[in-house]
Symmetry: C3
Subunit: 315 residues, 3 copies
């Protein structure tokens, strides 16, 4: 259903809405392109002219400075003109419909929309609606993630582990409610990872998840044994409020990524986290700051990946 929206007849990426059904070769093309951009960030002059004169609109219907900033930086490094629209407080309050607003921005000759909206289908609706030549990137919804997160996770794993086929990977935390986890599972499968484990309390990691082709663990120690990559997810406060998990402290004791637990993994396993981290909840401070953590490298790679997506969409 979705691949025909985001991929055009020639097999090129037209929008980036989801990692579901995104072919492995397109993922690889994005990662390879990101690789070429990685060095741009280390230069003093961090600019490429690829999107010069294009108008990128950051449409943020919910506040997320962190995500907005990564897209703003990526667009500016490609020399685009960026217009930030924080919409909660303005047009929407005048009762203008979403698609009428989009029509107006298209009429202003927007080239690209980066969309964050509480409703996860908003980006789809916009992508279906805009004329040819205008591109949409889904920048997520609420605590859910977004496809560029899954891509930067894949980039990070490839960077440190090279070959996907022999990897063992565990994702710990709220798999049930997390698009980060789902996106990562989709993209890793597309890239050929064979062994993906998910771990956490039964309320957040039910047995039914095995339908996704992953191994389900409710005991973290067993899940982490021998893996090459550990991803911990941010524990959302809402889960505790809904009594899906006990207190933060109890969660930490049972499922938190401590140094002792990490020692059960492969000795050169990497530790990933989509950020922002809750120290002492899902991850111990000395792990987050330790030698195996690549959490901040993920952020750096995330800029390159977003630049790659933006530049590929515009070709």
């Amino acid at each position: 259903m979705t691949d025909d929206i985001q991929i055009n007849g020639g097999g090129k990426l037209r929008h980036l809405l989801t990692l579901e059904n995104l072919p492995g070769e397109l993922v690889t093309e994005i990662l390879d392109r990101a690789q070429t951009f990685l060095s741009v960030g280390d230069r003093k002059t961090k600019k490429l002219p690829l999107l010069r004169g294009r108008s990128v609109f950051n449409l943020f219907f919910e506040n997320s400075t962190r995500t907005r900033t990564t897209f703003e930086i990526a667009a500016k490094r490609l020399s685009a003109d960026v217009v930030n629209l924080n919409i909660a407080t303005s047009s929407q309050s005048k009762g203008e419909s979403l698609l009428d607003m989009i029509d107006n921005l298209v009429a202003m000759q927007a080239d690209m929309f980066v969309v964050r909206h509480a409703q996860s289908d908003a980006a789809y609706m916009i992508a279906k609606h805009v004329p040819k030549g205008i591109h949409v990137i889904n920048a997520g919804a609420g605590s859910h993630s977004h496809p560029t997160q899954g891509l930067l996770d894949a980039f990070t794993i490839r960077h440190f582990k090279k070959d996907f086929s022999r990897l063992k990977i565990v994702i710990i935390g709220d798999i049930l409610h997390s698009r980060v986890a789902r996106s990562q599972i989709h993209v890793l499968k597309a890239l050929g990872v064979n062994e993906i484990r998910v771990a956490g309390p039964e309320t957040l990691v039910p047995e039914t998840l095995s339908d996704m082709g992953v191994s389900v663990y409710n005991d973290v120690d067993s899940a982490i044994k021998g893996v090459d990559v550990v991803t911990t997810l941010r524990l959302q406060n809402e889960r505790m409020k809904a009594s899906l998990v006990p207190s933060a402290q109890e969660f930490y004791e049972k499922y938190g990524l401590t140094k002792e637990r990490l020692a059960l993994a492969h000795s050169d396993a990497i530790v990933m986290h989509p950020g922002p981290i809750n120290r002492g909840v899902e991850i111990a401070s000395n792990v987050a700051d330790g030698p195996q953590a690549v959490i901040l490298r993920q952020v750096t790679f995330g800029i390159a990946v977003r630049m790659a997506v933006m530049s590929l969409l515009h070709e």
Copy 2:
């Protein structure tokens, strides 16, 4: 009273504050300039160097993302540096007077102020106050419109209808409280339109409006008969609260621009609206989205018109 502020001794535009008394030849100069900019928006590289290195300040004392965005895009396409100041929450709360604040921004070497303020005379006060070489554009007050709206309306009509002198035009809605209507009437008269009709309920379109040289109709069907251009205005909620109009539904039935009503106009009449539209209140969805509507073209033309005004002011 105002023309000496906005036009300098040589007959050149110094500020754009109002369309009242703006000579037809200046209007035409702006429209001609906008015509040359129209193609810029269709290019991949939508940039002209005309305002490179100039500092344009968007001074928004009331929130209007939509208007701010159009000026921001116009300035960036001319390569200006744009600084957005949303002032309600900041300097003003420290009790700094408006003109002291302007003096400070002038001292920061501002080149141009785009001013939106609840008080419609704020832009005038600023224009009177700033030194020579600094330019002010009135971007409106509240639900009132602003001169660039009137200019883009004129541009739109000229684009589709070429010759102004033989046109019949109707404006439907709250003429009494609308600067959109007043601006449009002024500029259309300056451009030579002979027959302008206004239509709506007596509370919003009183007989006294005929003093402006327009024909007053309280029956929309009669007003729309045979016209070449139909402009519908946004119905502000405040009017309903003040009991100046009945319910939204009743307004629609009596004054809304339906397909049936539009059929009374000339068969190639165009439909305009300043946006954002209230579907099913002042305009039917199938008219807003229909072949005669040029509402989104107005938005596109509005960017070119704002670029034209900014570039002419700086010459």
Copy 3:
């Protein structure tokens, strides 16, 4: 304690956190550099390529449009990419720690942080934390000032008075709670000013201030006699609430800079104020707008000084 953070082994400025212990030759280097930038603001194309492609982050943990704007303009005139982060409402509310947030921005390849935070040591903490090659500018805390204010004061005095050694300078107002005053005293002493007077009510200008090497006056008329430079400080409302000063009117009568009082100073004395001014509280309108006031020149010089600091940090 602080000079080793802000100055590197080669004696070059690495961060600008405080004017305390900043060597006079570094101050002079900044002022000389600012002098070369002063003419940039008067050009039509107000751009230098010195920071082209660098990413400057304005980290404003408290709202200050005025200060943020001066840094934004300075960075843009040096061709930097500027990202404004108003953080009160966003990441911080997710409970992310300050330094975790900084780590993330560093990972996005930030080059410079301009920091405004209610806690005056926030900029220090960040400066200590960031890797080499990344620079921090303290943009102040609350009603306190910041080092670029002291530098622009020094620039202003040098501009009008040339030789520092023979000057008599008075600072009037809330010296006790004002970093503007303290910064100015530090920098003026570093530049060789011999006679600095401070004046105001005992609650705000206690005798103990003489430890800073300044002469303490509680009678403004005596303090102002024969001086070459008069700086008046903004009277914060909080002082009145805390009953440290009587009413605004009484303050004005006793300590306000009126035309009569100013007549006691040297006939070509200049009048400075960090802005925004309270007319009729700490300064009379006819003095603020009079021929001796250089308050708006300070603003202009402030842009050049901030450009100088940014460009020197990046060398």
